[in-house]
Subunit: 345 residues, 2 copies
Amino acid sequence: MKRLTLAVDAMGGDFGPCVTVPASLQALASHSHLVLLLVGDPDILSPFLAKADSSLVGRVQVIPAESVIASDARPSIAIRQSRGSSMRIALELVQEGRAEACISAGNTGALMGLAKLLLKPLDGITRPALMSVLPHQHRGKTVVLDLGANVNASSEMLVEFSVMGAVLAEEVLEISQPRVALLNIGQEETKGLETIREAAAILRATPQINYIGYLEGNDLLTGKTDVLVCDGFTGNVTLKTMEGVVRVFLSLLKSGDETKRSWWLRLLGRWIQKRLSRRFGHLNPDQYNGACLLGLRGTVIKSHGSANQQAFAVAIRQAEQAVRRQVPQRIAARLNTVLARSDKA
Amino acid sequence: MKRLTLAVDAMGGDFGPCVTVPASLQALASHSHLVLLLVGDPDILSPFLAKADSSLVGRVQVIPAESVIASDARPSIAIRQSRGSSMRIALELVQEGRAEACISAGNTGALMGLAKLLLKPLDGITRPALMSVLPHQHRGKTVVLDLGANVNASSEMLVEFSVMGAVLAEEVLEISQPRVALLNIGQEETKGLETIREAAAILRATPQINYIGYLEGNDLLTGKTDVLVCDGFTGNVTLKTMEGVVRVFLSLLKSGDETKRSWWLRLLGRWIQKRLSRRFGHLNPDQYNGACLLGLRGTVIKSHGSANQQAFAVAIRQAEQAVRRQVPQRIAARLNTVLARSDKA
């Protein structure tokens, strides 16, 4: 397999290098062809690397950065003051072709703005969107976007998101003629926001998209669609609601007053937990961390700010897969076809 | 206990009388002081009542209605053509003082519009909001609104929702100085939609409200706030996402290929399911069906359109409790105080 170089914003996220460096080493250990450029303060990063296996450290290069964009910074100000920051340098490495993708757990708004500035949107894309591939109850996958790159979405943007989501489902998940649905507050045509109704009308008139109508929040995990499209505010709230509920369930499964039980009940309890964890494991948010910023001329993966080591390592794997699958190139190629045909129609 | 008369739109919802009549009989059986006015087509309702216990049927009165508002009707048209419909007649019974509250599983938009038309909003309320009391992981409760009465919300509306939610938490859930949070896509002040940021500024300057800031979707069940406020589109999607995930979990708990197991494993499996169902039972959406339309001069409960008998019976109980707790009167009284003080400030 060909060597693959990724840039990691090692300072971003709630825990910074405490999570990003061990996660990077974990990713290097599982992928022998991977090279990681860790962008950050060398004085802070070095101690984390000092103790690591030399075979792994040999595939790490520390790229110095003077500053970090704060998670709570206003994106517009953060972008203006971004020169020399770990996030910007990581993106510049992609821009310059030194890395094939970039991963950051930092400020979403700043990442989105900087990525757009440095990597430029594809032709036909107004605004990039954050996309995740979520598991559903029948162990299939659903492409969901936008998860928070834009707080508002016009009907045109929703249509662009639909095209990008469909391309991703077809090219990466290998679903032929993927079903596309809009997230709304009712299944009837008259329901919801005007932008959604307008987008529905356009999608119905676009034969290249297998548009199946509206779905509601309760269908997020049911697998009724392959692609679920919404504005970034709704998508973010929905995804976080889902994750919150899943975490509550997983924690309730583990809870229970063990001290009061006899030894055999405790043993039994642990056995049950193990079986249940396996049954629900694919729904655990740590297993699908990493949203892909779609619609750019490069690959950018946004990790949860609060990701732990396991979850950040999953985000690195997402970046690697997006590069191998040539997601930006495939979207660009398909956008050309769909947009050209729509123009003629 | 004093007799209490409620009006039931017996024709509304996905299953109509098949659910509403058995649920009504169930509610009558558990509350000996309850009288129900079932509004609908007598020819359709009678067969369901014919077989019921005479002691229950004695507390039922069928109020004839000629038509039903379709669930997928456009609310504006449905309202114009609503005369003689079961939903409208049920609301008119409240308006005329013949019933103290009304329950419907019908078209949300039509119910909202007709309720506003017939029962009128309280002074100081721009638009009523749909509110539910959701369970949280520590077995406490969270008041959440708006759940879909309005697809958009201005900052003023969000502030009104906050006041109503706080009153409800204080007067009905008996939480002193209830914490109020706005649902947003980040906890930092700069995050999210402008209307939300404006509402936050007003709430921070309102000493009568114990405003604690923004919360995200993953905090829906954590009990970090007593009142969670959002616009109706977001609230509806969030609630349905939560319900969807809970249902997926409950169904996964029950699933598993039983045929392959030995008898003792099957027995054990059933025992475990029972224990788990008890642990998660309070999160089952059927247990808290029924959203209250707050901000009106009367009590209106909206049941899920797809409610089953158990869930619709819960909605009837919600109506009964709202009447006993004098929710509209208490909100009106408290609104006067808060609004008067805010005006002076």
